[in-house]
Symmetry: C2
Subunit: 222 residues, 2 copies
């Protein structure tokens, strides 16, 4: 499958790119507003993977070109860029393209991070509102610590939660997620349930802050 | 230590009463608006513990009398009764009494449960607003599935999260929580961070609903 990581030069995009390239045979496309930056990062990921004995071709593109070529488009951009990014790539999306959103709105103060969703109720709901008619949207990968994801030496042993209104799209993303070693995907229901999923992200960051010896905290449900 | 479970006839109160009585030497007081109901439940808990070889005296009281006798008062009541309950027992609380709140505001629709905090921002913040001046408040035990907690045959292997503004009170509650076998207490920061903790409760219920073979879902962070 062809996966475009829009914002694939940022930390969550990097982690997903490296894990999918390392653990699966999916084709990874890195998207950025600056295609030169995307190509540079793609080369860095290739070098990292090559050093681990994995020969793979990761290519860099503009966001639009990456989206155009992909079966699954991951919006690995900061929450305040999500709406603009969907608009920028909208013409390249169709009913055959799954749009995946890992972003979470947060704001910080002296106490910690707090969940701060857009007025749509969640970033996932915002993406669903802004995506072209018929394009299936799945929220996923919100609660993965980026540094842990990007470090291939670390065993994940973590859960990720899926929200989506299209069962087929959700199943595709579940299989993509579980293609990553140590990652289990659980269903958290439709997009209406996204806020409870997204708000775990500030929580795990607060837990890392307030507990000695906990870093890059993730979550499992059982 | 003397622990009053206000609303100790409900399901989370039952689970905490049984676990503390089984795993520790703390003295457990069951509070209810109806003292007869409290005494009946206390006897049931004693019978359950006796059948497992644990001889212990659990007593039932009115909420006010239970609070008056306790070092730690757990408000194991539904979220819409929290403010009234704090008011009812307020005269019995002082700076030496720790008020613990496990309640979470939720509302459900056809998609699942959603976090629905009071206007104070969280149930924990509401309790903190309504508690008499100087009474330390700690949010804890929000994300424990009640049936799993109350079934002493089940190994918990779960985390609970603590929020509170008084470090000594939080440390006392941490020790109480970790007195329960298989329960680990993590610090999630001050009461300002309570919403992210409380919103895990609808999430774990949604996960139990949408994933086959998952019931009484709890959470661990690592």
């Amino acid at each position: 499958m062809r996966i475009a990581l829009i914002g694939g030069t940022g930390d969550i995009g990097q982690g997903l790119a490296l894990r999918w390239a390392f653990d699966t045979n999916h084709e990874i496309l890195i998207g950025s507003r600056d295609p030169e930056k995307a190509r540079t990062m793609a080369e860095e990921y290739e070098t990292e993977l090559d050093s681990r004995g994995v020969e793979t071709a990761i290519k860099g593109f503009t966001n639009e070109m990456a989206a155009d070529r992909a079966d699954v488009v991951v919006l690995a951009v900061p929450p305040y860029h999500v709406a603009d990014t969907v608009e920028a790539i909208a013409e390249k999306l169709d009913e055959e393209t799954i749009l995946v959103t890992p972003a979470v709105g947060m704001k910080g103060d002296e106490d910690g991070l707090h969940y701060h969703p857009p007025s749509a109720g969640s970033v996932t709901a915002l993406v669903d509102q802004r995506a072209p008619e018929g394009v299936p949207v799945v929220g996923a990968f919100q609660n993965l610590a980026a540094d842990r994801l990007a470090n291939l030496d670390v065993d994940l042993s973590l859960d990720t939660l899926l929200v989506g209104d299209d069962p087929d799209a959700k199943e595709t993303v579940r299989l993509l997620a579980e293609g990553i070693d140590g990652l289990r995907a659980l269903d958290a229901g439709p997009i209406a349930n996204a806020a409870e999923v997204e708000s775990v992200t500030p929580l795990v960051i607060n837990i890392a802050r307030y507990n000695d010896d906990m870093h890059d905290v993730g979550v499992t449900f059982h």
